[in-house]
């Protein structure tokens, strides 16, 4: 973990309010499911913003983010050559090393980008990856999964593309050795419940407001079956049975 300044290589709008920012990696270690805290250099904001690793290449880090408020709007105004400050990589990601066989990745909305790096790392380990992606309407990043997955299932709420309905309607956990999920809590709860019912181990990635991002301030603590845990350090990825017990 390091705090460093790096250059923005590109920062492109890929859909109405979704951007992909590519920055110099500066040798920072990074693995699937981890995140960085970002800050536009010279920003007047108090807190850095947590954004997951979308792709970690040899020399670059890629972040995909949606404009929500001040911080993400400020990030969206950065141009190639501007500098950005990064703190990371942070947190505990997906247990890639423990995996073998077949793994399903289930993502919803802006929970989809971190699964891209996850698919890449699992595939590199020889794990077979199926991807389930739930969108509200417009699709994004689907093609990014193609080199790193066997099957890709897509749903949209109104059915403009792919299956009409929720991505959880498409998932059958029993065929998998594990399920990794990231997205809206309501979706992850459903995935966790389906996995619990079929006894398939499941990991989910939590979001919480953060101040320090490194485990010092306890601003991001959540209650789990194993006591209070820090999303930024103990997570963001947790076994679903401790985050959503009795489900």
């Amino acid at each position: 973990m390091e705090y460093f300044q790096t250059s923005v290589i590109s920062n492109i709008c890929i859909s109405e309010d979704i951007f992909v920012m590519v920055v110099g990696r500066n040798g920072a270690p990074a693995s699937a499911g981890q995140f960085f805290m970002l800050r536009a250099t010279g920003s007047a904001l108090t807190l850095l913003r947590p954004i997951s690793i979308f792709k970690a290449e040899a020399d670059t880090l890629h972040f995909m983010y949606r404009i929500i408020g001040k911080g993400t709007r400020e990030l969206s105004t950065l141009r190639a050559g501007d500098t950005v400050s990064l703190l990371g990589a942070l947190g505990t990601g997906y247990p890639i090393d423990k995996m073998s066989g077949k793994v399903a990745l289930v993502g919803g909305g802006l929970g989809i980008p971190p699964l891209c790096e996850t698919a890449k790392e699992l595939t590199a380990k020889g794990v077979q990856v199926d991807v389930y992606l739930g969108y509200r309407d417009d699709l994004f990043a689907v093609e990014e999964f193609e080199p790193h997955s066997r099957d890709i299932f897509v749903s949209t709420e109104k059915g403009e593309e792919g299956y009409r309905g929720f991505v959880t309607d498409l998932l059958k956990p029993e065929g998998y050795d594990a399920v990794f999920t990231c997205g809206p809590e309501i979706m992850m709860r459903k995935v966790a419940a389906m996995c619990a019912a079929t006894k398939v181990p499941c990991w989910c990635s939590m979001e919480h407001r953060m101040a320090c991002g490194i485990g010092a301030c306890l601003g991001c603590s959540v209650r789990t079956a194993e006591g209070m845990k820090r999303v930024c350090k103990d997570g963001p990825v947790f076994p679903s049975n401790i985050i959503f017990p009795n489900k």
Partner: protein, 299 residues
């Protein structure tokens, strides 16, 4: 050029102390830089018994600052003595144990235990709500604060620093009351009680409705409070509230503070502790200050 200073008979290599609750026990920030460069570290706020803290949103950005409602999540005094102290002792810096309480008994028992442990200073946080008086903080009324400080003083053989709440009815009266009850030093300010509403959800942002404001937004008021307390008490004062730069540090020292604490800036710039030590040295050099102690209280 000397940044070193003596507080409560203890040497600080510089006047910069990491503020309670923003720096854990130092080990996380030590992964980013050697925290032994700091004058001191004030531990995460302890309570006699372990606490899970508050539910819901705990940190929230505001203009030039932030609000928090962590709710003193901590492992309890016993676990701190067993594990926390050893963690902090790995660092060559002054060890301040910050402790709060929700009843007189808890304060006294906790202070007694910490007093026997390997800490340098006990920082007593009196901003906590008192369960017996319907949750009103100990640090609002001078009489109540005086009572808890005297009780703790009786059992505490370590240097005792009392951390004042800016929400006190009258900060100078509060400071005088704590001094007369036996505080060896005062630190101020803790966070200002504040509020935020989520208009879309039509609900307060925090489950507890009110939360503590910190950061640059409070700096001018904190500075005024530190100044007026320094003018009225004889014990040393540690100043804090929105300190972000070396200039801010000098202004608190010129207002009379012996040392300062830095909280929120650690979040805005995770390397702030280290960078402020260097920046303060450079600023003193530029300003022709040979010894940081020579400009204390000049205003």
């Amino acid at each position: 050029m000397n940044l070193g200073t003596t507080l409560l008979g203890i040497h600080f290599k510089n006047p910069i102390i990491a503020a309670s609750g923003t720096f854990g026990f130092g080990d996380e920030y030590n992964e980013l830089y050697d925290v032994s460069c700091l004058g001191g570290i004030s531990s995460k706020g302890l309570t006699l018994h372990p606490k899970d803290g508050n539910e819901g949103i705990r940190v929230y950005e505001t203009p030039s600052g932030m609000m928090n409602s962590v709710g003193l999540q901590n492992p309890g005094v016993e676990a701190f003595i067993q594990e926390g102290i050893a963690k902090m002792r790995r660092f060559d810096t002054v060890l301040i144990a910050n402790m709060g309480g929700h009843s007189m008994e808890d304060y006294v028992t906790g202070a007694e235990m910490l007093s026997k442990a390997d800490i340098d200073i006990l920082e007593l946080n009196i901003s906590c709500p008192n369960v017996k008086s319907g949750g009103m903080a100990f640090g609002l009324k001078a009489e109540v604060a005086q009572e808890v400080v005297s009780a703790v003083r009786n059992v505490c053989s370590k240097p005792l620093m009392v951390k004042l709440s800016p929400n006190a009815e009258n900060i100078v009266e509060m400071a005088l009351a704590c001094e007369s009850a036996g505080a060896d030093a005062l630190s101020l300010v803790n966070t200002f009680q504040a509020m935020a509403i989520d208009v879309h959800q039509r609900k307060p942002v925090f489950n507890n409705v009110y939360a503590g404001l910190s950061g640059a937004a409070i700096r001018p008021i904190a500075l005024r409070m530190v100044h007026s307390v320094c003018k009225n008490v004889h014990v040393p004062v540690v100043g804090m509230g929105g300190i972000y730069t070396a200039e801010d540090i000098l202004s608190f020292i010129m207002a009379g503070a012996t040392a300062v604490q830095i909280g929120t800036i650690n979040f805005t710039n995770p390397l702030a502790g280290k960078e402020l030590v260097t920046a303060l040295e450079a600023l003193c050099q530029r300003e022709g200050i040979q010894d940081i102690n020579e400009i204390r209280g000049i205003i």
